[in-house]
């Protein structure tokens, strides 16, 4: 079919227009480099955070080894205590008043206060236990929760833990990254073509629908390639972290079925939003001066809604979000990572999404057909709606 011949040509052209191995390699190095620097900085900052020393005066307190609070007995002489604080030998002086309350004397806002407070709570608890005559072991037995083991019918399945939630969050982040990469290139590419007056040469040759289809696919492929580059970088870092600290990737995200769903919904998300972005970009001349550039943040809304899925992936709200075509590209993969929505639900969600993409693509093609040849005037939303509902070839 001639339509797909043009789509294939434009897809390849748009992809190669932006994809450059050198840039990708440089991006890979920058991503890994920044990640290493950020990690090293946090480690250095964490090490520095251990060094808060508190001098205790009239308080029988002990700190566990390895904590971020170090305790030392304060001099008996008040002048010597003040000098130690002033000279920076200690960060604070902890004392106990006559009414049993504690006082922390500091020169500046204290760090790690919650940790110090926890030590004091432990101290007071032990004191009160001693007063009541209950043995510590007995109290622990009374307060201990009854054991409950969650066991799945599928023995391979485990509960979604923190790692799974982090993985779901990372996935949402990658989808957003791909969307914004696509958006940026579609916006600059299409408005650039309008400004350079390339438009007329192309529309005289190929149907606008074939042109926009090629752009959607080509720039989407470029965005996916860029994100894949970062994923590879992330895997390299994860492997390094595994070798150095025994860090492990959650099993769920390396299952082939889950990867398939993640990739499928990522691609569909890109197709849907790229159609929207392409149509929108064709209606503005210059994104730097258009008051409508903020519309480009619309895709953030469904992703923000999807964050609720991370709390409970199987409640009614999450299920609705994972089926509704605007939110399903992010909600369904999140549910797949955190829970087990079932093949039927996944298939229905994908079908609804494909139908939505088809409708959006057709409407986008009609807006694109007219928008690409308009200069100097941005159409109103009503005009765009009229174009989207009109028959093709009405320009």
């Amino acid at each position: 079919m001639r339509h797909w011949y043009f789509v294939r040509l434009v897809t390849g052209w748009e992809f190669r227009r932006y994809f450059k191995w050198k840039d990708q390699f440089l991006g890979f190095l920058i991503f890994v480099g920044i990640s290493v620097i950020a990690f090293a900085t946090s480690r250095i900052a964490g090490r520095d955070g251990r060094s808060m020393t508190v001098a205790t005066y009239g308080v029988q307190l002990s700190a566990p080894p390895g904590g971020r609070i170090a305790l030392a007995p304060a001099p008996a002489d008040s002048a010597a205590r003040a000098a130690a604080l002033r000279d920076g030998d200690v960060s604070g002086i902890l004392s106990r008043r006559g009414d049993g309350t504690f006082e922390l004397l500091v020169e500046k806002d204290p760090r790690h206060l919650p940790e110090l407070r926890a030590l004091l709570v432990e101290l007071v608890r032990r004191e009160r236990l001693a007063e009541s005559g209950i043995a510590e072991a007995e109290l622990a037995r009374i307060l201990a929760p009854p054991p409950l083991e969650v066991r799945f019918t599928d023995p391979d399945r485990t509960r979604a833990g923190r790692a799974e939630r982090v993985a779901a969050g990372v996935f949402l982040g990658l989808v957003m990254l791909a969307l914004f990469t696509s958006m940026a290139y579609l916006l600059t590419g299409i408005t650039g073509e309008k400004q350079l007056r390339v438009t007329e040469s192309i529309t005289a040759i190929i149907p606008p629908q074939a042109w926009i289809d090629g752009k959607i696919l080509g720039i989407g492929a470029y965005a996916l390639a860029s994100v894949a580059n970062m994923v590879v970088g992330g895997l390299v870092l994860a492997l390094a972290a595994k070798l150095a600290w025994g860090f492990s990737i959650p099993d769920v995200v390396v299952r082939p079925g889950v990867i398939l769903v993640l990739v499928l919904f990522s691609v569909l998300a890109l197709l849907l939003w790229n159609a929207f972005f392409a149509a929108f970009a064709s209606t503005i001349d210059d994104p730097n001066t258009s008051a409508r550039a903020s519309v480009m943040f619309v895709p953030m809304l469904p992703v923000a809604l999807t964050l609720s899925v991370l709390r409970d992936p199987d409640d009614t709200g999450s299920r609705v979000l994972s089926l509704f075509p605007l939110t399903s590209p992010s909600a369904m993969p999140a549910r797949v990572i955190l829970s087990d929505p079932g093949v039927g639900e996944i298939a229905l969600s994908a079908l609804l999404l494909v139908a939505m993409i088809w409708l959006t693509r057709r409407a986008a093609g009609r807006i694109f057909e007219i928008g690409m040849l308009m200069y100097g005037k941005e159409p109103t939303l009503r005009e765009m709606w009229r174009w989207a509902s009109a028959k093709s070839g009405s320009r």
């Binding site: 073509e193 007056r197 007329e200 005289a204 190929i206 070839g393 320009r395």
Partner: protein
């Protein structure tokens, strides 16, 4: 009579923008193998007509019938047509050769064939050594050469060239004029819209003059020259300079104008009924005449005369 076969026919085509007609019930046909020129002042509707022909915009009324390969169609098949738009532009960040191959492929050429023809054209237009440079690195004139190649790389049966000479220096204009002629010799039918009258006069077989969206005059170059009026025109070369008052008072003379380039020459338009022989007999007694030659009105004069006449008629018309 293959050259008379109609290739493109417009029938009462109308296009309005914001309620104002840009093209108003325009009809004409273009014959296979000819160079057909659309002429007209700014805003006459030439570009709108060309854009409707290539299908970038659609007529509100009327129809366009195309018969490139024997099959009547309502739109031009991209593989058989080439288009140089007035609004020109290329992907600035892409190398020249890659750009040409892309356009060749869009027009239906295989990749190796598109490359071969692109290299051929680049050599012909003295750009071969710049094939790997980005388009942005070329001068405006050279970018226009590259754009021209995108319109003809696939050897179209019909080429629509909207203002092909604009922005070119005289040497490049001559080069493009030669290419237009060569294309026609190779069998390409050409529709060109231009306002460089001398170039159109040298390139076109037939001309359609538009004003305010309508046809005001059409025909071959010779026919157009004859349409200004039937009054003869002569050019006098004088021995030195002379007072022109005596000539202006001559009963056979309608208009006397100086030659822009030669101060010893003058152009004279004679009145209705006057003959060159009778005027010559008196002219030798009025000025120091070295030579006399008859001349026909330039297309530029036809253009100015006809458009003014049309404007005056419209201004006087109640509608």
């Amino acid at each position: 009579m293959a050259r008379l076969e109609s290739l493109v026919r417009l029938e009462h085509v109308t296009k309005s923008f914001g309620g104002r007609p840009a093209v108003d019930a325009l009809s004409f046909d273009v014959r296979r193998g000819e160079v057909f020129a659309l002429l007209g002042p700014n805003g006459a509707g030439k570009t709108t007509t060309v854009r409707m022909l290539v299908g970038v915009i659609r007529p509100d009324e009327g129809r366009i019938v195309v018969s490139l390969d024997g099959q009547p169609r309502v739109s031009l098949p991209p593989a058989l047509t080439g288009y140089l738009p007035e609004d020109r532009g290329l992907y600035r960040e892409i190398p020249v050769l890659r750009t040409l191959i892309y356009f060749g492929r869009l027009r239906g050429l295989e990749k190796h064939e598109a490359r071969r023809r692109a290299l051929e054209w680049l050599e012909r237009l003295n750009l071969l050594d710049r094939k790997d440079e980005r388009v942005a690195a070329l001068s405006k004139g050279n970018q226009q050469r590259v754009q021209f190649i995108t319109a003809v790389i696939h050897r179209p049966q019909l080429a629509l060239l909207d203002e092909p000479f604009t922005g070119l220096d005289p040497l490049s204009q001559e080069l493009f004029l030669g290419i237009v002629r060569d294309l026609r010799e190779a069998g390409t039918t050409i529709i060109l819209s231009a306002h460089q009258m001398d170039l159109v006069e040298r390139a076109a077989d037939r001309v359609l003059l538009m004003n305010q969206g309508r046809e005001v005059l059409s025909g071959s170059i010779d026919e157009l020259h004859g349409r200004l009026d039937g009054r003869p025109r002569v050019r006098l070369a004088l021995d030195g300079t002379a007072s022109l008052e005596a000539l202006r008072e001559d009963p056979d003379v309608a208009e006397v104008t100086a030659d822009d380039a030669d101060p010893t020459a003058i152009h004279i338009r004679l009145r209705d009924g006057a003959t060159v022989a009778r005027f010559l007999a008196r002219a030798v007694t009025l000025v120091p005449l070295r030579s006399l030659s008859t001349e026909r009105p330039r297309l530029h004069e036809v253009f100015v005369h006809v458009v003014r006449e049309d404007d005056a008629r419209r201004a006087g018309s109640p509608s």
